[in-house]
Amino acid sequence: MAEIRAPVQRPISPHLQIYRLTSTMVMSGLHRITGMALYFGTALLVYWLVAVASGPNAYANVQWMLGTLIGRVVLLGYSFTLIHHALGGVRHLIWDTIHGLEPNDREWLARATLVGSLGLTAVLWVIGYMIAGGEL
C-alpha cells in the first residue's frame, strides 16, 4: 500500500525582505524598472517616426506635444532612463567578464551608474538647449 510521504523539505531561497538594502540591489531594481519604462517609451519613438513619415501636419502635432511642459518632462525622463539603463547594461557586461564583483567594486559601479547617468543626461540637455534654444 502506498504510504503518504511528507513532501521533501527543499531549501528555499531568501527573498528581498530578508536582506539589508544595498545600492547594488537598488541599481538592479532600477535597471529592470528603467528597462520596462523604455519598453513602453519606444511607442513614443515610433509615434514620432511615423509622424515624420506622415507629413508636415502630423509632425507639427507631435512637435507641439513634445514642446509642452509634460512633453519636455517625458523627454527628460526618457533620456535619463535610456542613459541609466545603458550604463547599467555596461555594468552587467563588465560582470559577465567576471570582473567588478568584489564588494568595493560593486559599490563603486553602482555609484558610477547613478552619477554617470545623471551627469550625462544634464550634459545632453545643456547641449540640446544650446543648439535649439528651447525650440524642439
Partner: protein, 131 residues
Amino acid sequence: MERNATDMRTPLGRVRGFGSARSGTEHFWYQRLTSVALLPLSVAVILIVVALLGRNHAAVVQILGSPIVAITMLLFVVSMAYHMKLGMQVVIEDYVHDEAQKFTLLIGNSFFCVVIALSAVFAILKLSFGV
C-alpha cells in the same frame, strides 16, 4: 530507476521527462549581443536626434531619409525591439505565475515588439524612398 549521484533533476522533473528546453543559453546570449549592439547605436541615435533639434519638417525628412542615418536608425530599432522582447519576457516569467495569464502576456509581448519594429522600419523606409 537508479538515481545517479550527479543527476541534478528533481523527482518530478524525472517523471515528467521533458528533458532540456533545447534553447540553453540562447536567450542570455541574444540579450547580451543586442545590448552590445545597442551601446554604439544609442549614442548614434542620440546624436541624430540632437542634430534634428529646431529643424523644420523638410529638413528632418531629408536627414532621417539619408542612407547612413536611415541604416543607423534601422539597426537601432531592430536591435532594440529584439532586446526589449527578451527583457520583458524575463519580467513576465519572473512575476506572472498563472499559466493562462503568463502565455497571454508572452504572446502580447511578442506582438507588441513586432508592431514596434515594423512600424519604425516602415516609417524609416518611407522617409528614405520618399513614397
